[in-house]
Amino acid sequence: MNVATKPQTVDTEIDGPLYEARRKIYPIAVHGTFRRIKWMLLVITLGIYYLLPFLRWDRGPNAPSQAVLVDLVNGRFYFFFIEIWPQEIYYVTGLLILAALVLFLMNAVAGRLWCGYLCPQTVWTDLFQAIERMVEGDPRQRREKLKHASRAQRAFEAASKHFLWLMVAWWTGGAWVLYFADAPTLTLQLLKGQGPAVAYLWIGILTFTTYVLAGHMREQVCTYMCPWPRIQAALTDEYALNVTYRYDRGEPRGSFKKTEALKREGLPAGDCIDCRQCVSACPTGVDIRLGSQLACIQCGLCIDACDTVMKKVGRPTALIAYDTEMNVQRRIKGQAPITRIFRARTVLYLALIALIGGIMLYTLAARTTESVSVLHDRNPLFVQLSDGSIRNAYTLRIVNKLNQPRRFAISVAGVPDARLEVAGGVSTMVNDQPVVEVGPDQTYELRVLVSTHAKLPANASLPATFTITDVAAGQASTAPDHFKGP
């Protein structure tokens, strides 16, 4: 390690340019385990993204039968059997916290698994590059074409590529808007040109961003725009599995012939034949042999590229592999490699994930299908009636989260000789309790008057509890407040 020294004056000769022109990267196609995994994940994730809105789920007569739906107009979020109301938006907060913790855990165990395999930027860039290679050929063919192919031929290929990219980008934006309305209906409307303007606007925006980010910006999104590489660098440690060039085995590198000759003479020679296939295959243009670095998204394609070469030259594979810095160091010292997945860091992440997940599952399981909130009238706090009794007024809001209408009986406890009536509006009485009907998936606000003849202490403030009871099914919810007296 170099000792930190105070830098001296900056030499303008070695002071590089302030701004760097784009270094265009055309990664070569590779074949192997990680490429297969990536194709598989690409098909699965994009399949879910494009098709999920069409999955049906019966929600009764008043809501669209869609399994996953963000209903902005009515403030509802539907996810299979879960229905989230605006006041339960903390579930989304919980999900975001869980997502962050899972990201930390993935990173502590096996590096940037998210970046390399699941991040939308990676998935769509991969798809766009595949289209590029399909239309214009591998980087080597591209270079040949630049020299030999006719201008018309090249223009046609470029146009086809951009057309295909735009089609994918357009379909990506189109799938997005389907999550916000009944998908089959909206698809028909869009086809007929009768969709809402906001849908076309969002399709336009997402077509543009997908086309620009996945087609043109590519790795620059990962290196310059995304904050995760910076955060990830601070979270990783020597036990984390990362795509690693095993320099203990690869160095000193040299051509195949040279290293073979050195090996025959018993001189130090590494397995790396400096063929640069790992660099050519890298979608972010990284040379993994320089060690772990910011731009590396750890997709494993250099592993596939290297393994292919190693098989050809008859040397053992896994010169580049998922490995830990700790094990590279241990092998250099002649020690056996160790695996340590359970460390303070990973156990803590797991515990936090279990805790947050547990809380969320509990609240999800314990949530009721009805609720009531109560607001006491502040002006006036109480009134005296002509017969001398004292009355307080409250605003109740009853929530019915089921997709059928329900009738609720309203009662109050804690006020002696309380008489409860619904002000304005028509309500029926069941067992001396007023009953109101609340429509499916709706809230109902009503004004309730509670009065009592009982002698109250001076400046009385009695705890009062309001209860709503489903007349048919018997489920009940309560809300506390106070009854004020003179």
Binding site: N2, A4, T5, K6, P7, Q8, T9, V10, D11, I14, D15, G16, P17, L18, Y19, E20, A21, R22, Q220, Y224, D377, R378, N379, P380, V383, Q384, L385, S386, D387, G388, R391, A393, E421, A423, G424, G425, V426, E437, G439, Y444, E445, R447, L449
Partner: protein
């Protein structure tokens, strides 16, 4: 790789440093991408265009109005028109429905109450208080005492035509100034005041010996015509119930004597000429629900 003669080059990466150092960590002088620079230039161009297109620069007494002539006031007008159009669906239903229909339709009722609450705050709250709690001379709308009747139709009638207003259909009913006009003498007024207070079982101040018999006699001769022989009041004349313990002008002995001496005649404007019928409807429903109506 590293050039040992140039100490401002990072020994490991071979990249020049900026010369900045924090706790032994030095910053590599990595160039920014050029597209980033172009995006920056583009934002400058955008800003210049914005100055020209939209109102931007303050002048001495005005501002540059921009070539589009866009005004935030116009934008608000568009939004307001949009809001009116959105509300039109319910507003039309409200205009068509009867008061009873409004109260029996939950969604119409909540719309009417919301509109009524806003209209009440704008027009009624200065006298009746923000929550309709009233004040001396201004009735509390939350209780069950209605001088001019608390049914939906009665409340609407009061709202439309007012009380002792210039409207020909306004409620009228005057409490005579018994003392000022010389109808009753002071001892008679004191006696009837004590009698009336006794109807509500109000406490008698120390040192006072009420002459209830005389009070009853004076009451039957002068007051029973409007307030009724049982003093329960008469909503046709707006004569309040004197037995219910609710006193518009205060229940103190002096207050009651002042009322008898000078008479009372609070005025409520006729709102039918100021507010549209739908707003009156919404206010009626809102006020009706405040105290539970009659």
């Amino acid at each position: 790789m590293a050039d040992i003669h140039k100490p401002d080059v990072d020994a490991i990466s071979g990249v020049a440093t900026t010369g900045h150092e924090w706790d032994g960590i030095r910053e590599l002088n990595t160039p920014l991408p050029r597209w980033w620079l172009w995006v920056f230039y583009l934002t400058i161009v955008w800003a210049v265009g914005y100055w020209i297109v939209y109102p931007a620069w303050p002048l001495v007494s005005s501002y540059t109005s921009g070539v589009l002539g866009w005004k935030s006031r116009d934008a608000v007008q568009v939004q307001l028109a949009d809001l009116t159009a959105q509300r039109a669906v319910f507003a039309d239903k409200l205009a068509a429905a009867s008061l009873e229909q409004i109260e029996s339709t939950p969604e119409l009722l909540s719309f009417a109450r919301a509109q009524g609450r806003a209209a009440f705050a704008n027009n009624c709250a200065p006298c009746h208080g923000a929550g309709g709690g009233g004040a001396k001379g201004y009735p509390n709308l939350n209780d069950d005492d209605w001088m001019w009747g608390g049914s939906l139709e009665q409340i609407q009638q009061t709202l439309l035509h007012g009380i002792r207003s210039a409207d020909p259909d306004a409620h009228v009913g005057d409490m005579p100034a018994f003392g000022r006009d010389g109808i009753l003498q002071r001892p008679e007024i004191v006696a009837v005041a004590d009698y009336v207070r006794s109807l509500s079982n109000l406490p008698v101040p120390a040192g006072v010996t009420p002459d209830l018999a005389k009070g009853k006699e004076v009451f039957e001769a002068n007051c029973a015509a409007c307030h009724g022989a049982d003093a329960k009041g008469n909503i046709e004349l707006g004569a309040p119930n004197l037995t219910d313990g609710i006193w518009l002008y205060g229940s103190g002995r002096d207050s009651v004597i002042a009322t008898l001496t000078n008479g009372r005649g609070g005025i409520m404007p006729a709102w039918g000429t100021r507010l549209d019928p739908t707003t009156i409807k919404a206010l009626t429903v809102y006020v009706h629900a405040l105290g539970g109506g009659q």
